[in-house]
Assembly symmetry: C2
Homo-oligomer: 311 residues x 2
């Protein structure tokens, strides 16, 4: 059970090691963090495309914190045991022009609003077709950088941040390298569901609270984030197998773009969805995997779409 | 049940649309293919590092075929329903200098010989530690290219070939685009197990027979291979979850190399294996996934090592 709750108004945008901690804890503390959604509350269940067009990007991706962990020093790691999520039942997915793997092909804004059962957490209906299994996680989870100043929250870095790793879900243990005294931990950008890749640039963006335990590993000498999952990571969506499209060639990015573009075409053709709707659906449930990366000069990237979403 | 068996001596190395078919069939035919291992029989259960050093690369990766499918024309697709495998119980994994994701770090040859239970197909022991779940599949499965001449079997192409996709296993349905009359289908390079990426360049390379059904889809207009799996693809190895290392940055290849190098270090440190042994173990059971590909300018690649292999 958490000993503290940090409310959502204790948030910041961007990473800055000069920010004063909102809480100082001993290693082993369990804390509840109220997380805003990635829009910082700008998008709600009543939002329209006009609200998406009016987004203030200076408020995008707030994180709750920072928390100072006593004794943490550069060279150590913070061990984060991810506990329970308290989802809100509301979410949104958007195609934001200029952002996303196929930004050149999807230039118009699009917005989908989700309502899901925050207690039963049953798969969420997307449209007349499509039900997406839910698995809440924190998209942004990280520590402050050693370099002074404000650093954009968008790119993830070796200290974590906007990792958007789908499997940073309940029960996973995450290790992050410490660059500054106290680590200065913050978390936000909670998602109700996302596929590996987050290909359209957004997930089911959803405000929710998360309870985490923060421990300290001295002299861990960790280069980048690593994590341990407590069990399988895809059983919420793999029961009926996958439709898979491929891209191949000497560049992984081009191969990934090819695989995703072909899946968008396939889903749109099968369901009658508009391509941008299929693109957003792929982002919240489909997984990018590298099938082979050694058969010179052509690599194979697959996009795995879980069949149960449409069956 | 197959109506024909094509024996392993009916093989070729490389793709060449001038090769005469070894069999002509009507669409819907079910055929058993005896497949040699990727060394073409040069490596056996008695092999040593000296045999690896003496490999004749002109004999590498033979495929059994080609089969002419009546009525197949450019623009069509061959639909391949992958049936049963009859594994041999013998396999090998090697680090071949100059080949593999970390070829610059692993410059010395290494060879591991496997014996596995070809009936029970229980996880195969690697060393005093490590048991690898098995899932047979064909690493090389493809059609002839339109362009005349002999083309290397190493790189996969839009017509398939050395795809090394772990999930082309029993029950999967694969679609390949046709470029020449009859398609000219061949298969080989059978693997008893492999992780996504095949990161050291080899899997559990193992001779075995495979039974396939070849159908024709007219005017399919397929750009690259696609496939449908009949069910989950990782349940043979995900029961205890994963250890995951990450690489991140603006280049997916660099990120993938970083993630894998960190996992090799982790497995070697935990088990006492030599790094090259950990590298080969990672190749046969660990999966490369793209966690996010949209948070400019840094992408996240994860290497997922199934914990049950060591627990």
């Amino acid at each position: 059970m958490p000993t503290h709750t940090i409310h959502g108004d204790c948030h910041h945008v961007g990473w800055d090691n000069a920010l004063p901690p909102v809480l100082t804890v001993a290693p082993g503390a369990t804390i509840e963090f109220e997380c805003l959604d990635a829009s910082g509350g700008q998008l709600t269940a009543a939002s329209t495309l006009a609200d998406l067009a009016a987004l203030d990007f200076a408020r995008i991706n707030p994180t709750t914190g920072p928390v100072f962990i006593d004794g943490a020093q550069p060279g150590d790691a913070i061990k984060i045991t991810i506990g329970a999520f308290a989802p809100s039942g509301f979410g949104w997915t958007a195609n934001i022009p200029g952002f996303g793997l196929l930004a050149d092909q999807f230039v118009e804004p699009a917005l989908h609003l989700w309502t899901y059962d925050k207690v039963a957490m049953t798969p969420a209906a997307y449209s007349p077709v499509g039900r997406v299994p839910l698995k809440p996680f924190a998209g942004t989870i990280g520590l402050a950088l050693a370099e002074p100043g404000v650093h954009s929250v968008v790119p993830p870095r070796r200290v974590g941040g906007n990792l958007d790793i789908r499997d940073l879900a309940a029960g996973t243990v995450l290790y992050l390298p410490v660059e500054v005294a106290g680590g200065l931990f913050s978390v936000g950008d909670t998602h109700a569901a996302q596929g590996d890749g987050e290909i359209c640039g957004t997930a089911i963006e959803s405000p929710m609270s998360v309870t985490l335990t923060l421990d300290l590993v001295k002299d861990a000498r960790l280069e980048t984030p690593r994590y341990t999952t407590p069990g399988p990571v895809t059983r919420h969506l793999d029961a009926k197998g996958y439709e898979v499209t491929t891209g191949l060639g000497p560049d992984l990015m081009t191969a990934a773009r090819g695989a995703v573009a072909r899946m968008v075409d396939l889903i749109a053709a099968r369901t009658g969805m508009a391509p941008v709707e299929a693109y957003m659906l792929c982002s919240v449930c489909g997984d990018l995997r590298i099938s082979e990366i050694v058969d010179l000069p052509n690599w194979v990237v697959g996009f795995y779409f879980p069949r149960l979403v449409l069956e």
